[in-house]
Amino acid sequence: MSTPTTHATAGIRETTEGTVYDVTGGDWDEIAAAAARSDDERIIVNMGPQHPSTHGVLRLILEIDGETVTEARCGIGYLHTGIEKNLEYRTWTQGTTFVTRMDYLTPFFNETAYCMAVEKLLGIEGDIPDRANVIRVLLMELNRISSHLVAIATGGMELGATTVMIFGFRDRELVLDLYELITGLRMNHAYIRPGGLSQDLPPGTVDALREFLKKMKKNLPEYDALCTGNPVFKARLKDIGHLDLAGCMALGATGPILRSAGLPHDLRKSDPYCGYENYDFEVPTVDTCDSYGRFLLRLEEMRQSLRIIEQCIDRLEPGPVMVGDKKIAWPAQLALGPDGLGNSLDHIKNIMGTSMEALIHHFKLVTEGFRVPPGQTYAAVESPKGELGVHAVSDGGTRPYRVHFRDPSFTNLEAMAAMCEGGQVADVIVAVASIDPVMGGVDR
């Protein structure tokens, strides 16, 4: 690509087969002397990509001097899935199926951000029914709880605190039961669609939500009792993974990392979407800049999420969950059939029995999809990890021209080196756990 540069210890020869590089050019005595001078304790340790405590397929390359990390670098891309390219070969609605699998711990945030971008391109962001917006907020806050629970659980497991992991997954199961009730799936839902939702809440959801709130309010203080005052836990987390506000801003870190440096930046407050301006909640901050502060923030954010969920239940009014424009809206009046699949018998009766035009329209909408006017847009939501942005470009076709996800895990992981260098090897694990990177989001 660029012109080859000569290194002090390397030579270049042009041959008929191409350029040949060799190491004959240097002064070997000098190199040997430099190697002899270096500390014997200095070694390069390669952690991952398959390592039990690196949060998935993250590869850390650490240069350590004794127990001190002198340099830390990340190797990523081991889970690169090409989702952004795959989206370009599917319709706009089918896109939700792909984006939900990016950061697999925050599926509803991915779906909402993507759908908000598509709705902006269509110019229908003001037409989304209230009920759909309330349910989106409800699901996103449930998702915030389940994501933070996994962050705390896997963080605990990486410290060797298996009880924390068992607790976290126990409570996450409660959230997953709700997902399963509402969307039919435990993960990878594709429930939020451009224009609204794929279907309405099933009967009994509100009761299940209240039951969940009751259980969660009992379970959340257990984390306080188990971890917050625990001297071992505090000794491992306090002052580890330090990143101050200047560092956060320079490295573009958002979410709990930024708020642990004392800046109350939260898109739900500063740039409200889906009606977040109507909810009463607080954005917690601490000014410790460390892993312990991030742990406390995550606990507090879960409490705030419970508050928002309570308000969502009160705001649930009957109504449609899909925009009225039939050129965009998929039929969303689904009912659960005996086979366990959602189906709309009235809709089928209409398109198969009475109206040929409705059948053609349904066929076109499902196979061809709707057209989106050309242009580009950026939509961002506050995911549990930070600012999740979607840059969507349309060329007026039925399929996305380009969709790029600015995933918070990807950007926050850049701060790993700043947090770990100069610390101990064992603290690298704590620092990475406090960033809470999910490799599905990092690599996409």
Binding site: H80, N86, R90, A253, A380, E387, E414
Partner: protein, 238 residues
């Protein structure tokens, strides 16, 4: 690298047309281009146009940002009309199309000027428009100001024959990995980047997989004798 791809003006970005920017032409309806289209839609021709330049007032805070930026650029001895090729306001968002040689100065101004103060760069997203001759590769930056609660977009383009864009890592260190990612997927070379290497794909990967001319790479799937073509080889609605 890509010499002889037919764009006559070589390394210089082509001048813009107004209104709107034609990035391609769409023919037919069902993607059948080998004469098999009996639907009657085969002769359909549609021009694909991106939104064109807007005139003042832009509305909202966009005017204020544009005024401050132009003022700050003038103070630095630049002609705003040469730096900002055009300003597009579309869907309640503002896009400043910046000439690539001035990108670094513009981002520095946007970050440091107290009236602008865009502290947070949310990375760079590459877009490949093979039909936009002379300006095939676009780099799109979204800047967020936490102080003033604003979002703007910068767009820079480079021809395929000279895919160079200045790196903004020294202004926004967060763009380190984002620029590596865009290089990895689109082959945009960010001049001045501290270590521009592949980040997602293996180091020895050939080609830039998210360009439009790179195939999706799907392999046909076979079910009991029936072939299902890969997604990029199927017929589709154009």
């Amino acid at each position: 690298m890509t010499e002889g791809n037919g764009n006559g003006n070589g390394a210089v970005p082509a001048p813009r047309q107004d209104p709107g920017e034609v990035i391609g032409v769409r023919r037919g309806m069902f993607g059948a281009d080998k004469g098999g289209d009996t639907s009657g839609y085969g002769g359909l021709v549609r021009t694909v146009r991106l939104p064109g330049a807007s005139r003042r007032p832009y509305g909202g805070y966009f005017d204020e940002v544009a005024d401050e930026l132009e003022g700050a650029l003038e103070e630095q001895g630049l002609v705003p009309g040469e730096v900002i090729e055009k300003t597009v306001v579309d869907r309640n968002e503002v896009t400043f199309h910046v000439a690539r040689e001035h990108l670094l100065q513009v981002t520095r101004t946007l970050r440091d000027d107290p009236a602008l103060r865009f502290e947070l760069c949310t990375g760079v997203s590459g877009v490949h428009f093979p039909g936009d001759k002379g300006r095939e590769l676009h780099a799109v930056y979204h800047l967020r100001s936490i102080t003033h609660n604003r979002v703007i977009r910068l767009e820079v383009s480079a021809p395929d024959s000279d895919p160079h864009v200045p790196s903004v890592v020294e202004v926004y260190p967060t763009n380190d990995w984002h620029e590596r990612e865009t290089y990895d997927f689109f082959g945009l070379i960010f001049d001045g980047h501290p270590a521009l290497t592949r980040i997602m794909m293996p180091d020895d990967w050939q080609g830039f997989p998210q360009r439009k001319d790179y195939p999706l790479g799907g392999i046909p799937v076979e079910y009991k004798g029936a072939q299902i073509p890969a997604p990029d080889q199927r017929r589709s609605y154009s």
